[in-house]
Amino acid sequence: MTKPWSRFAAPASFYPLAGRLIPVFWVLAAAFILIALYWGFFQTPDQLGGSNAQKDYYRIIFIHVGTAWMSMWLYAVLVAWAAVGLVFKTRLSFMMANAIAPTGAIFTFLALWTGAIWGRPSWGTYWDWDPRLTSELILFFLYIGYIALHSAIDDSRRADRAAALLAIVGLVMVPVIFWSINCPDPNQCAALHQRSGLGKVDGNILFAMLTMTLGLWMYSFATTLMRVRGIILTREAEAAWVQDLVRAQARGS
């Protein structure tokens, strides 16, 4: 371990750094989410106009979009950490990938849940086999597969690398899967997309949506770091620095 960046890749130095960052992210998360909620509920109209008028229920959008975006973003980050771990053999990367997965799965579930609840008043059904929804469902399965594989393997080293490989295979397949769902008939693909024009959205709504997403992002930083600290403690139980830390805590309490 001689390269400068690898100093932070060492669990011993990352652990306290994460400990200092966690409260910061909690504060940021709370602030952004509260602002977004205030803006979303009090600074936006009760009704969306347009060809397809939507009443108050459109306020679900603030968490719906936030969780949907975060679910996809977190999967990308997870795969990135997994790939770094496989290539550079840094233990911390695997731990990060591992710590992201539950939060990502929760966001995916929430995107599905809020989307379904939204679908009921606007489409009259909780579920439809719309490509976007189906893709999100598949993403949920990919998260669950990653978590299930990791926890089925007792040896943490093998678990890390096997799950990382699975995540990478998943990433290669994801475009193909999403594409096949979006375009089940290869003869006519272009006509399908119901584009979501972000530009046409009202400024206040957009602000609340983006702030909420930012808040959820900060939240996922906080939970991921908390989880990774737990993993580090478990994995490094034998290391001297962990024992010093535990001893200090024992004296403190």
């Binding site: 598949i138 594989l149 089925a152 295979v169 397949m173 096949s180 769902i181």
Partner: protein, 223 residues
């Protein structure tokens, strides 16, 4: 180099011949699952004709997946897998040989029995032809992708159902275009051509990439 490919292939086929029932079980599983649906859904011809392609493909997915559980397991348990890993041959080639043998034993029979299933669901002749073609192109992809999952779950508790969880989502593109081809092919074979081309493209890509991933997975699991 190819002697190695052949000798592994030959070994696996020989082993299968010594245990003929293992091959038949996959086939029977496929037939049973396909036959269960008319029992659950009712036997109206119009309905069955719509369901046929999807059901056959889902059943093929499930049969392929169940058989995959044993792809590396036997070799893992008796130690021949680690000996394979220690030969001076590229592991990718050995993996490819094992997957090929597996497909010959579990995928090809499904292709051959497809006309029978087509009859059960009152499919048109051209549908049946497309079904055979699409299975011929699609089942190797299933074996190739599934082999990665099989390698990853080697020797784990609850391997079977875990494997299902890992690889069924990855099977979706094959399912979509395989079943799509059969549905479209009801009228004429030509309609299905873009679907079949896509399946062929998947097969080429899977042939190129899956053995690499699978070999890497084996190296991880063997520790």
């Amino acid at each position: 180099m190819f002697t190695v490919f052949w000798s592994v292939l030959h070994r696996d086929l020989l082993l299968a011949m010594r245990r003929r029932t293992d091959v038949l079980t996959t086939l029977f599983f496929f037939v049973i699952v396909v036959s269960l649906f008319p029992l659950g859904v009712g036997t109206e011809r119009a309905v069955l004709r719509v369901l046929g392609p999807g059901v056959v493909w889902v059943a093929a997915l499930l049969a392929s997946m169940l058989a995959l559980e044993r792809l590396f397991a036997a070799d893992y348990e008796d130690g021949t897998l680690e000996q394979l890993l220690l030969t001076d041959q590229p592991l990718v080639l050995l993996t490819l040989a094992k997957v090929t043998a597996h497909w010959l034993l579990t995928g090809l029979p499904l292709v051959l029995i497809a006309p029978l299933v087509g009859m059960q669901y009152h499919l048109t002749d051209s549908s049946v032809a497309v079904m055979m073609l699409s299975l011929l192109l699609g089942t190797p992809v299933l074996s190739l992708i599934g082999a990665i999952g099989a390698a990853l779950t080697l020797g784990l508790r609850g391997g079977g159902i875990l494997l299902a969880l890992l690889i069924l989502p990855l099977y979706i593109p094959v399912l979509v275009y395989g079943a799509g081809a059969v549905t479209v092919g009801a009228a004429s074979l030509g309609e299905a051509q873009p679907y079949l081309t896509l399946l062929a493209a998947f097969l080429v890509a899977a042939l190129a990439l899956a053995p690499l991933a699978c070999a890497a997975a084996l190296r991880i699991s063997i520790e």
